[in-house]
Structure formats: structure tokens, C-alpha cells
Symmetry: C2
Subunit: 368 residues, 2 copies
């Protein structure tokens, strides 16, 4: 199957579609579960599938350090290694280097850094990042970019975005096209509409299989993020998928879908699940709270996940209070189920032309 995106319907700027890949089709809008080091933390691959997850994300930075890209390739690629035959998107490594690695240094060539694990020196160039993602057998390869810091002056944002553009060109040249595989460019430009437009135009000239919007959810706040989506998304080609990187809360997702975004990834549902926070139709709950100690009701009466069908809030509270691994396991399963159901509900509402009513109903639930 060729890589592609088919629009199934729209409601205002909100889009419902299909992402088609060598590793299967994914309905959009879609949330990608983060599987940093070749595992969605605290989840078997079967458990990830049971949450309705259609596509997972792997981290180039983590996997290049452990177990190493060449080793993953020798083991048959990331799909085989982690028992995920479905689509996998890998990031380029740039974002994690800037947030995790030590003694990092960035120049025109690429980034040199020391591993946060053992201090070993590494170099990541656009060409090496593409090679690593190829070795991992990523269904979707991301270009290497610099995630512009926030705040940044317009000059800083322009110069950072233009470096990312030059790296995008090099990344495209280094990408090995294969049927059903794709590569996404990444729009940068900080919070400056003209720079966002310049970035989109430059990337469209290269012509990628999809476009990511990067450099957001880095501290600018939801209003400014949405404003950037309002000026960026309309410039992107209609027939290509749009991926908002590292976003976000359920409310961020609803608002971004309304602005034409098709794909998301974020550690929020998985990380929150490991720290006892549950995303529910009635809002966010912290299961460590003593008020749940004798609450025999289900976590979320509207949810069909294992935690909600089989256990009480009191049991989940007990598990976290005792530091039992099953607590993170069950709450990660629940949160991914919630995010996937939120996106599935959005898709159905878009196709029915009632997306704004859907958002209003979901948001009203959070206030109860």
C-alpha cells in the first residue's frame, strides 16, 4: 500500500480521515501512544492494542543510545522487537537531545552531545537521524529540526527556523523512499505568523508525505498555541496529514482538531497514569486522594477499559498507596483508552457535522 492520507469528511476546519501506511490504516484524528524506549511504559503490546491505539511513537534519541539503532535493525526492526506490527512514527531525536542530553552543541552540521545515561559522546546530523530511523524501520520518519526555544526574539526564531529548513532539505535527501513509508517536515517559526508561513512554504517546496507543526506547547500557553494553529494549518496542503507535536491535554486536542490537526503525541496520558492521575469524562482525578479509599464505583462509568470494567476507585487508590505496579498499568491503560475514545468520538462527530456540539458536551462533562 502506498503511503497516503484520505479525507473522509470535515466540519469547519476539523478533518476526519484515514492515514494509509505499509503497516496498516489509522483513522484520524488520532492520538499516538508514546513508546519511548521500544515500549509504551507499563503496557504489553496487547494492552496497548486494547486501548484502541492505532499508531505508536518511538524516540530516536533513546533508541540510538539503548539498545542502539543497528542492534534494533539486526533484531528485525522496532515493529518486530516490540510486537507492534502497526504503524510507528519516530521522532528525529532533536527535541530529546535539547531536553535530556548533556554538553550539547548545535551547529550547521548537526548536534554533538553526551548521553544522559553514560556520558558517551554522540553526533546527530540530519543524515544520521534519517539513517537511524531507517534502521528502526519507522513507518513515518521525522526530519531533524531544532525546536525553537520559548520565548525567542523574532530574529532568533527566524534563524532557528531557517536552520531547520536547511536540515529538512538534507533530511529529505537522506530519506530512502519505500512504498507505504513516509517522511514529515516540521513547521517551525515560534509565535511569529510570518515565520510560520515562510516555514510552510519552504517545506511545501520540498514536498513531504505529511507536515508536523513543531515548537508549540513549549510554554506559550493554549491561546497562543491555538493562534499559531489558526495561521499555520490553513497554509498546509489539504491532502496531507498534519501532526501537532507533543500536544497535549484533552482540551488541547479538541481545540487543535477544530483547527485542522489530524495527529498528536504526548507523554501526558501515560506519564499521568504512572502518577495516579486519571483522565475521565468527569475531569481529571488523582487516585491517591483519600476520598477514593472506600469509593466502590468505577473510575469512569462511561469507559470500557479494564480498570473501569473490573475494578473500583478504591482498589486503584489502594494500589497506588501501596506502590503496586498494577496501579500504573491500569491507569495507563485507562488514560490511553480515554484519549483514543476522545479522538474516535471527535471523528464520528466531524463525519456527522456536529463537532462543536461534541466538544461542548465533552467539556461540560469535565465540569461535573
Amino acid at each position: 500500500m502506498n503511503f497516503g492520507f484520505a479525507l473522509a469528511g470535515s466540519d469547519g476546519a476539523a478533518r476526519a480521515g484515514w492515514l494509509r501506511t505499509a503497516h496498516g490504516e489509522v483513522p484520524t484524528p488520532s492520538f499516538m501512544a508514546v513508546g519511548t524506549a521500544g515500549t509504551v511504559k507499563a503496557m504489553t503490546a496487547d494492552a496497548v492494542r486494547a486501548t484502541g491505539t492505532g499508531i505508536v511513537l518511538g524516540n530516536t534519541y533513546h533508541l540510538m543510545l539503548r539498545p542502539g539503532a543497528e542492534r534494533v535493525a539486526r533484531l528485525g526492526g522496532l515493529h518486530a522487537m516490540m510486537d507492534w506490527p502497526g504503524p510507528i512514527l519516530t521522532d528525529s531525536g532533536g527535541f530529546q537531545i535539547m531536553s535530556l542530553a548533556k554538553l550539547r552543541k548545535l551547529d550547521e552540521t548537526g548536534v554533538t552531545f553526551r548521553s544522559h545515561i553514560d556520558g558517551a559522546a554522540h553526533v546527530l546530523t540530519p543524515e544520521r537521524s534519517m539513517e537511524i530511523q531507517h534502521l528502526l524501520d519507522a513507518t513515518i520518519t521525522m526530519v531533524l529540526d531544532e525546536c525553537t526555544k520559548f520565548p525567542a526574539t523574532e530574529d532568533e526564531a527566524a534563524s532557528s527556523m531557517r536552520l531547520s529548513t536547511r536540515w529538512a532539505v538534507r533530511s529529505r535527501a537522506a530519506f530512502v523512499p519505500r512504498a507505504g513509508y513516509g517522511q514529515f517536515g516540521i513547521v517551525q517559526g515560534g509565535v511569529f505568523p510570518a515565520l510560520r508561513a515562510e516555514s510552510v512554504a519552504a517545506l511545501r517546496a520540498v514536498d513531504f508525505e505529511g507536515y508536523a507543526i513543531g515548537g508549540l506547547a513549549v510554554g506559550e500557553g493554549q491561546a497562543l498555541m491555538f493562534a499559531m494553529l489558526d495561521v499555520t494549518a490553513p497554509l498546509l496542503p489539504e491532502d496531507k496529514p498534519r501532526y501537532l507535536m507533543g500536544v497535549g491535554t484533552p482540551d488541547d486536542l479538541l481545540g487543535s482538531v477544530a483547527r485542522g490537526v489530524d495527529m498528536f503525541d504526548c507523554v501526558m496520558p501515560t506519564r499521568a497514569g504512572r502518577t495516579a492521575r486519571a483522565f475521565c469524562s468527569t475531569g481529571v482525578m488523582n487516585l491517591r486522594n483519600a476520598r477514593f479509599a472506600e469509593d466502590a464505583g468505577p473510575l469512569d462509568a462511561e469507559c470500557g477499559c479494564l480498570a473501569c470494567r473490573r475494578h473500583s476507585r478504591a482498589y486503584l487508590h489502594h494500589l497506588f498507596r501501596c506502590g503496586e505496579i498494577l496501579g500504573p498499568m491500569l491507569l495507563t491503560a485507562h488514560n490511553l483508552t480515554y484519549y483514543n475514545a476522545l479522538m474516535a468520538g471527535a471523528r464520528a462527530a466531524i463525519l456527522a457535522g456536529v463537532y462543536s456540539e461534541y466538544c461542548a458536551r465533552v467539556r461540560a462533562g469535565w465540569q461535573t
Copy 2:
């Protein structure tokens, strides 16, 4: 269904049978997965079922402290709370108090101690232990006993065993008989055959639904443990189940089944699984070992568990090296599957009259 034990066949002293309870039947010999605080660590209840586990064990000591026996009862009992409708055996709390609690003091009445969690003072008497196990809704209730320390003089072992006998009588009086529920007495007597015989005779006079052999696997070594089984098991009634507490390695299990034991529990497969050690048909492996880093083969080619069917040794090595929760999850599933398969194989061999050949074949595998 009434609580009972039916012998299906035997081969020498080895027995194959059925344990019948209000919560279902369990083929014996059988290994009980340890679910200390209302969860088999790192496993969903579905995952425990998938390992072939028929009966799980809960800990009175841990559950009385967190979440509290009365709270478990208000939440519908341990079966409902942990999603395990099958049989549950609970220990009496005595063993954990002596190994975990602080400032413990034992007298004729019972044990006073301080919680290892928050230092709160507690008293556990035979009567309170029976009440707690009733509140937990234990399918099989254990009498409160004192696990005689090792080494102990014959006088110390005699006096400890006789205290346990008096507590067994009080435990029986405090037990509430219900159809399909049972209570097991616990044979003590250290490593002294005459004391073991005295203990058995006293407990048989009380007449329990089953008999446990306690005070072994406490440092005396396998040879002495087997010698004690050789003198104890023949004294126990044929028509009641026999449970060897806290045992053990796969080899311990094979040798104990040969001596007439029907039931076992031990933290070994679950704890080992969390620390990267795997019980396999070829012996024990430590998955942290660097020699597995590129081993694309399955953990155990003879095993049908999730870890063995879907993943490589190299992936398991990677997970433990990165401290990923999925490592303990997969290896716990594997080890419980191994223990259950070992017992299922033993049962089939006993019924076929080839138990010693089975043991020889299994042990030969460990040498490869």
C-alpha cells in the same frame, strides 16, 4: 459445592487430584501465585489467568494494614476487589509479622507488633486472624501459628509447636464454616520427626479441611526439608489436601510432589521475574546478562507465554537494562507460566504413572 479434595491418581507417594471449593476447582499438584497486597505484582488478573494459575494467595498481614480487612469486606471481599473470582488462600499473618513487623512480642494470647509501614500498634490473636480472613472472604483460611525459627533446639521447637497447636484449636473454634470454604491446620515441629508426628496427631484430632506443612524452607536445606516431608506426609490423611508453605524452587516442587505434597506457594517466580531472572526448561537465566543483548531467540522455546511467543531475549534484556516496567511484567508472566506448566506436567505424569521419568527429563533439561 462442598469443600473437598478428590484423589484422581497417584504414582508412588505422588498424588494427582482435584481441590473443590466454592470458587471453583483446581487440579493438583498446584502452585499458588502470591498476591500479597491484593495483586500479583506486575500482573493484571487477566494476565494471571493466562499463566494457568488456578488459585492465588493473599497476605493477612499486608491486607490488615492496607487497605484494612473491614475495608476489603465493605468493597465486597478480596475476590471482587482484585478481580479474581477463583479460589483464594490467605495466610494467617503470623509469618509476615515475625519477618516484617517491628517491636513484635508473642505470648499465649497472640502477637502484638508495630506496622512496618507507619509504626501503628496492632494485636493479632488466633481469633482476630480468623475474623480478618473471614472479612477478606478467603476460600481457604489458615490457622494462626508460630513459624518455628531455624535452628532451634528440640525443646524450643516442642514448645513453639505446642503453642501453635493450642492456637490451632482456638483458630478452629473461631472459624465460621461455610459451604465450599475450608480451613487448614499447620504442622510444625522443626526438624524433629517426633515433634512433627505429635503436631500431625494433634491437628488431625481437630479435623481440618486440609493440612499445611510449615516451618520448612527456613534455612534447613533441601535434604533436611525432604527428610521432614518423608516423615510427615505419610501421617497426613489421604483424603485431604497437603500444602507445603513457602516452597520453592522448581526442583523443590518436583521433590515435594514426589513425597505427597499437593499445593505450594512461594514468592520466587514473581520476585525473580521482577529482578530479571527467568525459570526456563533449560534452567535459570538472568536476562540482565550482556550475552542476551543480541539474542534474537525466544526466552524458552518450550513455553507458550506472551514473553516467549512474541519477544526475543534481546528485547527482554533491553527492557531490564532500561528499567522498563514491561520487563518485570513479561518475566513474571513467564515464570508463573513455567511453574504452572511444571505442575500440570507433573499431574499428567502422575496420572500416566511416569512421574519419576518426568522429573528426570525436566531435570536433564536444566543441565543443557
